[in-house]
């Protein structure tokens, strides 16, 4: 298994350890805001275990992905919502 994985977060490349979740990678990139709530509030991860849906992101073009439950893959395109 590769030691590190390269992916893109909002168009910026980032390298993380293999096995890192997308949520952790986004926080690691210095971005605590994952999405805007329905009334426009800034939101980031809460439960970290796939329950609360606060860490939803667009991953490889698929909207509303729970980033805490998805492991970073090479070349992944991640966009905050």
């Amino acid at each position: 298994m590769a030691e590190s994985v390269d992916l893109w977060i909002n168009g910026t490349p980032i390298r993380v350890c293999a096995g890192t979740s997308v949520a952790a990678a986004v926080l690691l990139s210095g971005e605590p805001v994952f999405r805007r709530s329905v009334s426009g509030e800034k939101r980031g991860p809460l439960c970290g275990m796939g329950i609360c849906f606060e860490c939803r992101l667009n991953i490889d073009g698929v909207e509303h992905c729970r980033s805490c439950q998805i492991v970073c893959r090479e070349g992944m395109q991640v966009r905050t919502e």
Partner: protein
């Protein structure tokens, strides 16, 4: 897209400690076992991130036993619908949807953290205690970060120690329970020397952190990112700067799948008998989904359920005594860390209760039923399906959640349609 139908003598929902031990014991009795788990890898929340992130010989033993037992494991899979009469569920992964026909089903769906709303709790970097821990286990570095831990329960200590071990500074651990209850709980620990040692070791590891009782987080401050937390202890309130606020008010069993399969639910969680069988003949339940009891109890219940589901209730009996003792411990936990009434007045009029739909407290205060709250405010109508706000409204207003309907978890439309598509292809 590959679609298929699978079969298993025993289907296990969840690969935390209970699911792992259940699967291993089922395999030991020669049954075919399939494990479906929503997480990226086995271990559940407590052993998230695999063996390397978990300490202790217990996790080592079970990762080995589970890893070599020969059970099929599908990670990143959620059960979205099921039919107890036909002994069938529908599951999806990121790529795929499939049905599973099972002989016996073991529910080991674990628990989720319970949250309570307070001003600012939706600010980014305010997270669950387990949530932040899960993120660290998933690769988030916290070295040098200031983390305030607030809420209730002994897991706060374990989490704080974990944060410290990873280089974070934990200035305060704020426990809402009072001294009297904690002292009574500590006294009971005498009967479990192992637990008492654990507690002492944790306290030593956290000697640089202040452990405050009858204390809770009253507000989180910061615009778009947490800057500080306001703590309250009696008449005293003060602000404390921090990078993360980890909050958690205990745990709620994940009973949704049990409800969907028409299993009876009791005060603690999914009801189960001596051999962990639920009110449905072919369905067993083990671990936190039957009631919050900690990892030791979860493993024992899993073992019993695994044996019993394999038709070897005789082997299960060997675990009864240890399980019953572990249950006593969990009962004393519940008493000690019961939530105090003052926490009901934490939310302000404009505090958000439903984070999916941004429903604020003043719109919900007068609601008489969960259905009225849903229909007239959209509370609980978002993708978390009320998993976060449901327990909150139960605590704040005593509202009981509605009956559950599929999909029991948000699912792709194609997955919802998958079962009959597959039947049609069989017909053809």
């Amino acid at each position: 897209m590959s679609r298929g139908s699978r079969t298993a003598d025993i289907l296990v929902a969840g690969a935390g400690p209970a699911g792992m031990s259940a699967a291993a014991r089922g395999r030991e009795c020669g049954r075919s076992v399939l494990v479906l788990d929503d997480n990226p890898s086995a271990g559940g929340q407590i052993w998230r991130g695999g063996e390397s992130h978990s300490s202790g010989s217990q996790s080592t033993f079970w990762f080995r036993t589970f890893g070599t037992c020969g059970a099929d494991v599908i990670s990143g899979a959620r059960i979205i619908d099921g039919d107890a009469k036909r002994r069938r569920v529908i599951a999806e992964t990121r790529e795929d949807a499939f049905t599973v026909e099972y002989g016996k089903l073991i529910l080991a769906t674990g628990a989720r953290e319970m949250f309570l709303p307070f001003p600012g709790w939706t600010t980014p970097n305010v997270m669950g205690i387990g949530g932040l821990q899960a993120l660290v286990k998933s690769g988030l570095p916290i070295s040098g970060k200031r983390i305030v831990v607030a809420g209730t329960g002994p897991l706060m200590l374990a989490a704080a120690a974990y944060f410290r071990k990873h280089g974070a500074v934990v200035p305060v651990i704020a426990e809402q329970a009072d001294w009297t209850r904690l002292a009574r709980f500590t006294l009971q620990l005498r009967r479990q020397p192992g637990k008492l040692c654990q507690a002492a070791a944790l306290r030593f590891a956290l000697r640089h952190s202040r452990y405050l009782v009858s204390c809770w987080a009253e507000a989180a401050n910061g615009e778009g990112r947490l800057e500080s937390v306001r703590l309250r202890q009696g008449a005293k309130a003060w602000d404390l700067a921090c990078d993360y606020l980890a909050v958690g008010f205990g745990f709620k069993p994940n009973i949704e799948l049990g409800l969907l399969m028409n299993c009876r639910i009791n005060d603690a969680g999914i009801e189960s008998d001596d051999v962990q069988q639920t009110s449905q003949e072919d369905i067993f339940a083990a671990g936190e989904c039957t009631g919050i009891g900690g990892v030791d109890l979860a493993i024992l219940e899993g073992e019993i359920a695994g044996y019993a589901a394999a038709g070897r209730a005789d082997l299960a009996k060997g675990c009864f005594r240890k399980r019953n003792r572990a249950r006593q411990f969990s009962a004393s936990l519940r008493r000690a860390f019961a939530l105090r009434r003052e926490l009901r007045s934490l939310p302000s009029a404009t505090s958000i209760i439903c984070r999916c739909e941004d429903v604020v407290w003043q719109r919900l205060e007068q609601m008489q039923s969960w259905r009225a709250a849903k229909l007239h405010t959209r509370c609980g109508m978002g993708p978390c399906q009320g998993r976060v706000c449901g327990p909150i409204l139960e605590f704040l207003l005593g509202l009981q959640p509605e009956a559950i309907r599929p999909p029991v978890f948000p699912a792709r439309l194609e997955s919802l349609a998958a079962a009959s598509e597959m039947e049609e292809s069989i017909d053809k």
